[in-house]
């Protein structure tokens, strides 16, 4: 199927139509920031945003979610039963993050029923980044401003129109039934190609990360963990804003014999994360917790899942209150290992 296009003026119309069949989540201006929220009738979506503060992972994996309800009549599970979800206008890094999260949530032995219920029959429209931010580093991690991994339909902004390129079979099936779309001309495709080249060349050349995993194998006791953790406040904004962080807590809340079992995003940056009933804590210092975060993303995840657990969205870089930059950490790891002749 060929690439189609939508006139920018028809976007609202298009999204309204989508809303008849799907629960449409799109970038919306709310409380002064752009976030992915469910579009209400008549609400406008903002597609010229650089990057949302919060990653869209909460659409499939809410920050707090009721797992079970209990009362006199026993336990009931509370999986999502709403309309299929459309995620419209996510950036390529975030679209790729779902693939990584699914390695965990749809792992063969135990499938997470809450994730599966929300993710079932979804369509992901990802939106190319014409203007990557200085903190973006998707191109370090096999991604890029026009990377199509994880999308069903890939959107490119070409001034007056949006190009819609079907990527998956689901995406193709969906697009073939939408009459508001027109076929893209050669000129349109050329414009998208130029935008891609411009965006890609605007990003700095990435360092080679081939030796990152093996470098980390040798740096467990290095002082670099002390140095970087001295600054860390343990605020956990890096984990909450991370599209690939998935750790959660499970808590019960009850009142008068009725209640809920809920799960909530949790963070390896907090001391309580690993504190045991006996009082023993295997990660008592911030240095241990930071090491866990970096090791998980660039060593353990690689070992278990075969790729880095980071998509290079740059949120932790731009939101960290003490300017811990994961990119300079990565380069210093590689340099430290090389300096010692380990790799």
């Amino acid at each position: 199927m060929d690439t189609l296009k939508l006139q920018k003026g028809n976007l609202e119309n298009f999204l309204q139509k989508l809303g008849e069949e799907f629960a449409v989540f799109a970038p919306v201006m709310s409380d002064g920031i752009v976030s992915f929220l469910e579009l209400r009738p008549g609400q406008k979506s903002v597609l010229d945003f650089p990057r949302t503060h919060k990653p869209p992972k909460d659409i499939f994996y809410p920050q707090t979610e009721v797992m079970l309800r209990y009362g006199r009549d026993g336990l009931q599970s509370t999986e999502y039963k709403g309309k299929p979800i459309v995620l419209f206008g996510v950036r390529p890094c975030d679209a790729k993050s779902f693939i990584l999260l699914e390695r965990v949530f749809i792992e063969p032995k135990y499938k997470d029923p809450y994730w599966v219920a929300r993710r079932n029959k979804t369509l992901i429209f990802s939106l190319a980044c014409n203007d990557p931010l200085p903190s973006c580093f998707c191109n370090w991690l096999d991604g890029g401003p026009f990377n199509k991994t994880g999308s069903d339909i890939f959107i490119t902004d070409i001034d007056d129109d949006y190009l819609f390129e079907p990527i998956s079979e689901d995406g193709e099936r969906f697009l073939s039934g939408v009459d508001i779309l027109k076929e893209a001309t050669e000129k349109d495709i050329k414009k998208a190609k130029n935008a891609k080249e411009r965006a890609e060349s605007s990003m700095e050349k990435p360092p080679k990360l081939d030796s990152l995993k093996s470098s980390l194998d040798t740096l467990w006791d290095e002082t670099l963990w002390d140095e970087i953790s001295l600054r860390c406040l343990g605020c956990a904004v890096c984990t909450y804003s991370c599209p690939t962080c998935y750790c959660f807590d499970i808590q019960d809340e009850s009142r008068r014999g009725k209640g809920v079992r809920i799960r909530l995003w949790d963070s390896c940056m907090f001391p309580l994360f690993t504190k045991e009933g006996s009082g023993h804590n295997p990660r008592p210092l911030q240095k241990h917790r930071l090491r866990q975060r970096f090791m998980h993303k660039f060593n353990y995840f690689v070992e278990k899942q075969g790729e880095f657990g980071c998509v290079g969205c740059g949120r932790c870089v731009s939101l960290c209150p003490v300017n811990i930059d994961i990119r300079s950490f990565i380069t210093s790891v590689i340099q430290t290992a090389q300096g010692r002749g380990d790799t």
Binding site: Y110, D249, E276
Partner: protein, 277 residues
């Protein structure tokens, strides 16, 4: 799709105090719906939960060869474990399982098995001992030795049963306490020292060790000195857990999740993982 977080209802069949300081209680649980009953192996664990109080992992102390109940011994620590201690027979709680891997039963065939334990870590090792000594299985294994220590006799769990085992000839039982008390006519001394004294042969021998970290730390060099290769020494690890199925992300040591890849690890495996045991 089956919800892996949904506990199955289990009824408290029997409950008793296990230690003289009353911090340990043992429960025999039975499934409310027989269709929920499952097969498990020694070393696996379950999540026990009480709505409103929470959920936590506990090693299965019964053996799969014992039918009609599942046994757990619970140390009273905080909210959930206190609520578990206040349960009465007949009450219904939630159980999810079986979770995690199990002791390397397949590797133990035709071999001598040495079980070393201290304190209330005997739970899943009791499961193993009962499993190996079951008449249907006993012929498949060589000598079975149990070395078990507690601070004092009153803290020794499953004591009546252990004293019965002392009289059996299919398992060698060595019980030890830290310091001599009146009326104690068995061994005295810490588990590592007692293990060194008993000196089980490392020929065709496999050791399953579980106890407080300090006991494991000092027992390990003794076992190495006795000639056991790290590949033949196994332990069961503990970590704070929530999901029990490798998703919530907190119980890892290196790239391994204790709940999913463990809780049973060989020392050969653990030597490759830098994070402290």
């Amino acid at each position: 799709m089956k919800n892996v977080y949904m506990p199955m209802p289990v009824r408290v069949k029997k409950i008793w105090v296990e230690s003289d300081d009353k911090t340990l209680r043992t429960f025999d649980l039975e499934f409310v719906n027989q269709a929920d009953a499952f097969d498990y192996m020694p070393g696996q664990f379950c999540q026990l939960s009480i709505p409103g109080k929470g959920e936590a992992p506990f090693g299965i102390a019964s053996s799969p060869t014992e039918k009609g109940f599942m046994r757990f011994t619970v140390n009273k620590v905080r909210v959930l474990t206190t609520a578990l201690h206040y349960l009465e027979e007949g009450e219904v709680i939630g159980l999810r399982g079986p979770l995690g891997n199990y002791y390397p039963i397949e590797n133990l065939r035709g071999q001598n098995v040495i079980i070393v334990s201290g304190g209330f870590a005997l739970t899943t090792l009791r499961s193993l001992a009962v499993y190996l000594c079951d008449p249907a299985n006993r012929g498949d294994y060589g000598d079975i030795t149990l070395i078990y220590g507690a601070r004092r006799p009153g803290l020794m769990i499953y004591r009546d049963e252990l004293e019965k085992w002392e009289k059996k000839d299919d398992i060698n039982v060595y019980l030890t306490i830290d310091e001599q008390v009146e009326g104690w006519n068995k061994l005295v001394g810490f588990v590592p020292a007692v293990t060194k004294e008993i000196a089980p042969s490392s020929k065709d021998g496999w050791v399953m060790v579980c106890g407080p970290p300090i006991m494991i730390k000092y027992t390990l060099p003794v076992l190495i000195e006795l000639g056991f290769p790290p590949e033949h020494i196994y332990t069961s690890l503990e970590r704070r857990m929530k999901c029990g199925i490798g998703k919530c992300g907190r119980c890892n040591i290196g790239s391994k999740y204790v709940c999913f890849d463990g809780p049973i690890f060989s020392f050969a495996e653990l030597q490759k993982i830098p994070e402290q045991i």
